[in-house]
Symmetry: D2
Subunit: 363 residues, 4 copies
């Protein structure tokens, strides 16, 4: 389905970085979900990143709700949201039009679209297209919250600096929602900023790993084959630009353990089935077991760097050097966290609506 | 779509471990693709694993082609393949019917299906359901081969033992197809067998990491948002039981690098655009760039172990101990490799058919 | 999705008329639905038609439930059902292999599949493929019944003979389920048989119109755009071979009325919103209004006739004459009625599961 | 998929009659298709109908292309188009908010959305939502034209007046594209206008039947089961408001014939396989045979009439009378013709892209 994701609750993205506007259509959301425009704006602001390590952006990134919301609530019909593109400086891109930026989609776009693509600023491949995704995610997060489900992501690792692990999921998720950069430990926060700035000063960039937790999800959601919770989440996560790895629970480290250590023992606790550990990240056989869903996402270093790079000029099919100019962030991981929260929330809304029906999220 | 995966080329799986039969429907495959029953049988045999570290299985796992193949070639209509279940010992499971095996889907199946699930041997969640997936994958691999595309997977790591990396993809993939256990280095092969047997002797199990390479795929395949090549492959891979992580190219290790190291420089080579390194695993912006697609998949240790484990009896909702009996492998990673090849081939057939039309794979 | 229909509840068909076997996979059906094998057999028998105007068939059409049913109830996982092909006389078809039978798909199959299609007896296009559809429909009808929803179809018109209209939907649907040929009026029944036999005696065939009613469906089901109840039902109905028209409520006759006559006035009756007439066939804006869903389906005359016909030999690309031999029915409309009931039931299960969740039909 | 239609080429509609704006996202269209804004405007104008029998509308219905078009051509990425809502008079609807208009979706919307729907002017159910569908259809029609495929619809019957049948498809389609109301015979045109005005003068409305022809479509397109050409077209057509019937070729009249008359003999003509008649409307076994696709669509009389009607007030659940005010057309059939052309073109683009790949329509 190309630019659409989800079955019962689906999101379609449209727009190019330097076109008229970007936006999305969120379809299948239950009627009666509160649409909190202040929360949408707050999430948009989190996506912009913090001033000290992000490039100053003048766009208001003001979200216009075009349809599907009436008297402050979802109607149940498609929700279109739009963000006008106002301050593009397209001329930056004419100069390098045929120079494929390494790590970007310039060359693959040329192969796929045969020269018809809007090449300015990454066009439809731009990270900017995550803005409407975050707007849609804000509605999804609100819908989940009404059912007692919360989602939070922290920067587990960035530029060689590690954050502390989640300790109490509920408290940590709440704390993260109030931070300008989602790092649990204040010390790690400072160290990360320093490391990011060091990369920036060298015209370079850094990546990292995000860890996400979801609490409150009921057991029994997901499908055994193909539409497993892991499959659906990974499908969404891997379409976020710069994501190169996804792992659930202990993930790759689990391959080092023996089964007797890796298996999560089941226990009764306060009349409820729990697991003593959560190495499987809340999912068995593709289906939620009622424990927190936990996963990590690897974000590669921002490909736009200021150092000169070797590339090809595909108009002449010859080797060339590229020097990227313009506004580019030395790190996007802190901005990607809210995108991960958003796609996670949308995916879970879809799985819940499939299982419990389209009105379940009405609250 | 639950138990169906793929858009233009799709696979539906059915069956339970101890039911009458298991099987699949492969739909959308081009007409005129050769169906090589000997190759299907060889792949089925690879899925069974090698005698020294796999439990002896009496099932013939004979694949019956029910439809969609005529005079040795695909017709273009749905291909149903079936494997009869012959030697189940269902009584093994009556004893532990209400004891959720840790690391398995017993408890989540109960939550999802409310007691109506076939609980014998994992039912529809059983790894046995990968058998028809491998049969379908064999047809997909043949179709790809006719277009010069080949797929191979080796055990990069198992029980703490590392294999050597891919050196020459083409040669290595060919070599892997002739091995009984897909390890590139003979020394690593011996060490892995020893380590697996050690775990077995303690009634325990091991996991590992598989690395897969695809060569010959044309540039320009995949979609920018949601149906990226990474999203589609991860969707398929995460529905294989025991997979807990997927990473493309350098994957998680890429988060340690700076952009200037992580980006793959583009170069002209013999009139063709190539990349000097392949940290991105052949995919930029979700779309193939013509370089080999490379990814790794984490396989958790087999959850069925013979050591006693703590669990709950969900008929009484109380704590209990479970001692698993029956036939269980101390490692499944060598058997999972062919499953990974299969789902990879199916996913690529789907992406190619979407881009180039349903007849492209006719050869 | 080619040979798959439905979103939450989906059906995949496979098989060729003269292949090994034919069958289906029904996925997404709620767990816990009773599977009544006697009812399945009864529906299969209705699909075979009555002896006096149908060709004698030796196939047992015995439905083998391969998966997804355990201890007499659905498990919630894919239900595969198969019917072996036993008594095909494939040689009948060698003679006419390259002679496109008029009104059949022989020539279009050649265009689509380029010669790889199984040409014997219509292959995958054969009306025989409706047999597994009827088996799946039987489970869907049982699931609907447990929610108080019933479906019935009568032959409104055949070979120029008209049946009486539905009078009391509930009683008529019940009466139809006990008839060997679904005609409400005994007089019309006799006249139809006579007319069908007259056509048969001339080596010719007849068609007709089926009218279907569904009672008990709740209001509020369906979607405003694209997945309207009418769109979904028509999608399913038009894939039944020989269907050339579908109309809801008064259908085409509605185009003759003025709005003041065509609109259905709303009235309160016993505390419930009803409509005084039902010209819209229970659907407004694509969504059920709680009144019976009523629609008619046009079945063209069976294309297999014994009279000589003009055609082309597409191996030589020249004009030719074809004389069809073998077993062919002078009418299939009485056999199509149960196919219409089946696809209707499957479509409604899908729409209900989407709206109310996957467990709604558990009963 | 709710408000999305199509697989390889898909259309998503959004918006409410009296909301901020309405629009669509057209995804999967090939890159490099010319986007002719003048043609889009011309089609929008045809959708508005002719002054003498349509209500005067002040909306510019100006289509803003938001994304997916660059330098006058499609880029291959999602095309969002928007139309602002400017001159709504929402207060007209407050008065009748809880009075379900007969023949409309007011009551079913209430059942489905539980009071959260935007009730003004039909909200998301409004015929106004066909405006962006027509804009998308204009691009699809242009893409088809570049492959030699043309689509045209005439009013076969309206208010008891019959138009002449198609004689030469190519010429007639061309002629229709230049008329303000799509009637082939000038005499019928005048009579229809008179009949429509007569209904209007009585505060009433009329319906009719549209007949559509598609020429130039290659043979071999469509699927044997479920995604037949008939199923896909009917799916799209039945989601157009007011459509209550769809028939292909001779349609319902075919049920009156014997097989020997109904079957279309195949003949060689100028080295090409043709059929001597076209009773099947260009489709056999769900697949195009290369002859013109011909089908008819029944449009019920506009449900908005000025005569008083009986209904219920669903806020009080009691009987009531409704008198509809505002702007309402005595006929919409002439405006529906371009909507039918549009959904037909979109459906065929989807089927062609599935069969021949996403770049086929590049021209």
């Amino acid at each position: 389905m190309k630019n659409t994701f989800g079955n019962s609750v689906s999101l379609t993205l449209f727009g190019e970085s330097h076109g008229n506007a970007i936006g999305c259509v969120l379809d299948g959301m239950a009627p009666g979900v509160a649409v909190d425009e202040a929360f949408i704006a707050a999430q948009m602001s989190r996506r912009k990143g913090i001033a000290s390590v992000s490039t100053p952006r003048k766009e208001g990134d003001e979200v216009r709700i075009v349809s599907g919301v009436f008297q402050g609530k979802t109607t149940g019909t498609p929700i279109c949201m739009m963000i006008e593109n106002t301050t593009q400086r397209s001329n930056d891109y004419e100069r390098t039009r045929f120079l494929a930026r390494p790590g970007h989609a310039d060359y693959t776009a040329q192969c796929k679209y045969g020269g018809y693509q809007d090449y300015r600023g990454g066009g439809h491949f731009s990270g900017r297209i995550t803005a409407p995704l975050v707007a849609a995610g804000a509605i999804a997060l609100t819908a989940l919250k009404s059912k007692g489900i919360s989602v939070g992501t922290h920067i587990a690792k960035c530029a060689g600096v590690k954050d502390r692990d989640f300790s109490s999921y509920g408290d940590d998720i709440r704390a993260l929602s109030e931070k300008d950069m989602p790092v649990l430990s204040d010390e790690a926060y400072e160290q990360m900023l320093t490391a990011i700035k060091a990369a920036r000063d060298e015209g370079d960039s850094v990546g990292g790993v995000l860890t996400t937790a979801v609490v409150g999800i009921p057991a029994g959601v997901g499908e055994p084959w193909f539409d497993t919770v892991e499959s659906m989440l990974a499908h969404g996560l891997f379409s976020i630009p710069a994501v190169k790895g996804v792992e659930f629970g202990m993930g790759f480290a689990m391959s080092e353990l023996r089964g007797s250590r890796a298996n999560d023992p089941l226990i009764m606790e306060q009349g409820k089935v729990m697991t003593a550990s959560n190495h499987n990240g809340g999912i068995n056989g593709g289906i939620t077991n009622g424990m927190p869903i936990v996963f990590s996402t690897c974000i590669k270093p921002t490909p736009s760097i200021f150092k000169p790079q070797q590339t090809v000029d595909f108009s002449k099919m010859e080797n060339a050097e590229i020097r990227i100019k313009g506004r580019h962030d030395p790190a996007i991981i802190h901005r990607a966290a809210v995108v991960v929260d958003s796609i996670t929330a949308l995916t879970l809304c879809d799985l819940l609506a499939q299982h419990f029906g389209t009105d379940y999220l009405r609250g």
